[in-house]
């Protein structure tokens, strides 16, 4: 009795220490974002003098622009991408999960194959295509692929939704069919509302991956007024002369707040999403 309790206790102590080590860099980050440049190289976790100016000055550290613009850009892009992803992926998943059509198996295997395809083979030809369309320095290279279920993670989302749609009882659409409901009606009125939990999971990951899609933004967006938050951070980082580390760390810290909020409030969907499909967070 006593030994098992001791075992439990040591296990918990070990786990607590380990958890703290894992988030220690983040705690240090929070402290560091309030430090002056001088204090940054001290090993203290928190500063003696809290420099709120890191946040206010950092917000306006790119001349002619403030981070407000960059956040508006990023959120605008995110909203467009989320809507197109939800629409296209749910339509495709309904088709695969609910309808029978010739060569369905072949299409499905192709879908699974593209899921494993390393994205970097596509970067150059897609860039060349979008260049020809005159889409460089617009958001179309992000929106159009998502509208065709081919954006970052598109096939993953389709797969996740197919799995979910297959799990819904088929009697529902049969009943609806007898009542004269069209396929579109079954999709729109029956399957879509029931798919909500899986759609939330898709939204979360779509949001996060686009937020972190640094390479994509780097390639296609090149004027500062269209910059996303990630590009703005890189711009501060690149201004080598007198780099204000405190400001940079402060702005970086702010940029992970959306992801943290999403995670905090929608954790349930997160864990389910990762566990059922094995997608990366």
């Amino acid at each position: 009795m006593i030994t098992t309790r001791w075992k439990q206790a040591t296990r918990h102590v070990l786990m607590i220490i380990f958890s703290l080590i894992m988030i220690y860099p983040v705690i240090w980050w929070i402290g560091a974002s309030f430090k002056s440049n001088v204090e940054l190289s001290s090993p203290n976790l928190f500063p003696k003098e809290w420099q709120w100016s890191n946040f206010t000055d950092g917000w306006k550290s790119i001349p002619g622009h403030s981070f407000t613009d960059f956040y508006i850009n990023t959120f605008g892009l995110e909203i467009a991408v989320l809507i197109t992803t939800l629409a296209s992926c749910s339509l495709v998943a309904f088709g695969f999960g609910r309808l029978d059509f010739p060569f369905k198996k072949i299409w499905f295997s192709l879908l699974m194959l593209t899921m494993m395809l390393p994205g970097q083979v596509l970067i150059i030809p897609q860039y060349a295509m979008f260049h020809q369309f005159g889409w460089i320095n617009t958001y179309w290279p992000f929106i159009v692929p998502h509208a065709l279920a081919a954006g970052s993670g598109g096939t993953f989302f389709v797969f996740l939704l197919i799995q979910f749609v297959r799990g819904l009882p088929k009697e529902l659409d049969e009943a609806a069919k007898i009542d004269g409901c069209s396929w579109w009606g079954i999709y729109w009125r029956i399957v879509l509302p029931l798919t909500k939990p899986a759609l939330v999971t898709v939204m979360i990951f779509c949001f996060l991956w686009n937020w972190d899609d640094f390479l994509g933004h780097l390639l296609y967006i090149n004027s500062v007024d269209k910059y996303t938050v990630g590009l703005a951070l890189r711009m501060i980082n690149d201004s080598q002369s007198g780099l204000q580390w405190g400001q940079l760390l402060a702005m970086s810290l702010v940029s992970i707040i959306p992801a943290t909020l999403v995670f905090t409030f929608l954790q349930k969907y997160f864990v389910e999403g990762i566990a059922t499909t094995g997608i990366k967070g």
Binding site: M15, V26, F101, H131, P145, W183, S252, F263
Partner: protein
């Protein structure tokens, strides 16, 4: 064709009994589902041909040309490949660095994920707190923000060295020393083992507890159980994590670009960075396409090797009932 007929006959009992609809519905019923099916998956089909298959063929074609965005395309045959394999030191260097990164980060990440998942699977109380704090780095780790944090922490004057100095160790600048720079990137990757761990946790939950009970009746201790029960039962999950981890690690870009930009002395010059530089630094899109195809073939070979090896170590319960290795 068969499939269509089946679909139609399956639908038959559901067909509404009214006469008028029956006449109209006869061909519609047969083609209703196929047509609707293709309409529903149309976005994906367009995307597949327009944004996946066509670009892939296009890049294969580019790889045999001297394509830059500006000049006319000229067919050059195998010249790009010849130059890459015969006369390109940076190619060799980037392959070396990439393999080192994959070999360093993927196993460490999987081992950490597996061990912590096993401990966490037993600690019932507080599991959500631990899971959250361990998963959190994976949540934010891919962002440029964390790469910037890493650049600061592992700098010469960085926090990590100050910590070491306070316990009397005089360390070099991790990201400015060619011997350690890659390790700071590997550590950033290993730090994000949380998402693999969540997958392992889900896998552990699937292992029936009677296996443990039966084996402990047979006198197996915890260590034996780990090797004889947990590992074999978890091997499909390990396999999945391994394949996905390797594919991702081969394409690592953001942290190498932001933290070290390939330096010092090209010691962190990963393949994706080289590809990026050729394609968008010098706009040698033809040459870079050849690099991309080489990378694809490399990833396919490595994944195929892992898949081939899986028959020796991945254990599927459904194949054999419960018992022998496949």
């Amino acid at each position: 064709m068969n499939r269509t007929a089946n679909a139609a006959s399956n639908d038959a009992p559901l067909a509404p009994p009214t006469k008028g609809q029956k006449r109209r519905g006869s061909w519609l019923k047969r083609w209703d589902a196929p047509i609707a099916g293709y309409l529903f998956i149309l976005p994906w089909i367009v995307g597949f041909f327009g944004l996946t298959l066509y670009p892939m063929l296009l890049s294969l074609y580019y790889s045999f040309t001297n394509y830059t965005l500006m000049e006319d395309i000229k067919w050059v045959g195998f010249k790009n490949y010849d130059r890459i394999f015969m006369h390109d030191d940076k190619f060799i260097q980037s392959i070396k660095v990439t393999f080192l990164f994959v070999l360093g980060s993927v196993p460490l990440k999987l081992i950490a994920a597996l061990l912590v998942a096993i401990v966490l699977n037993r600690a019932v109380r507080g599991i959500s707190f631990y899971r959250t704090s361990i998963y959190f780095p994976s949540l934010i780790g891919g962002s440029i923000a964390v790469s910037l944090l890493w650049r600061n922490i592992f700098g010469v004057d960085g926090f990590f060295n100050k910590m070491l100095a306070s316990i009397g160790i005089d360390a070099p600048g991790w990201i400015t020393n060619p011997h350690t720079a890659l390790w700071s990137l590997i550590m950033l990757s290993v730090w994000q083992f949380g998402s693999s761990m969540v997958i392992f946790l889900a896998g552990l939950k699937q292992i029936p507890s009677d296996l443990y009970e039966a084996s402990s009746v047979d006198g197996a201790n915890k260590v034996t159980q780990f090797w004889k029960v947990t590992l074999p039962m978890l091997s499909p999950t390990i396999y999945f994590n391994l394949i996905m981890g390797v594919i991702n690690a081969f394409q690592m870009f953001t942290s190498a670009y932001v933290i070290t930009n390939g330096g010092p002395m090209n010691s962190t010059y990963v393949y994706a960075l080289y590809l990026y530089e050729r394609a968008f630094g010098r706009y040698q899109l033809g040459y870079a396409s050849a690099l991309a195809w080489i990378m694809l073939v490399m990833i396919v070979i490595v994944a195929a090797l892992i898949a081939w090896s899986s028959k020796y170590w991945v254990f599927y319960e459904s194949d054999t009932g419960r018992g022998k290795r496949k």
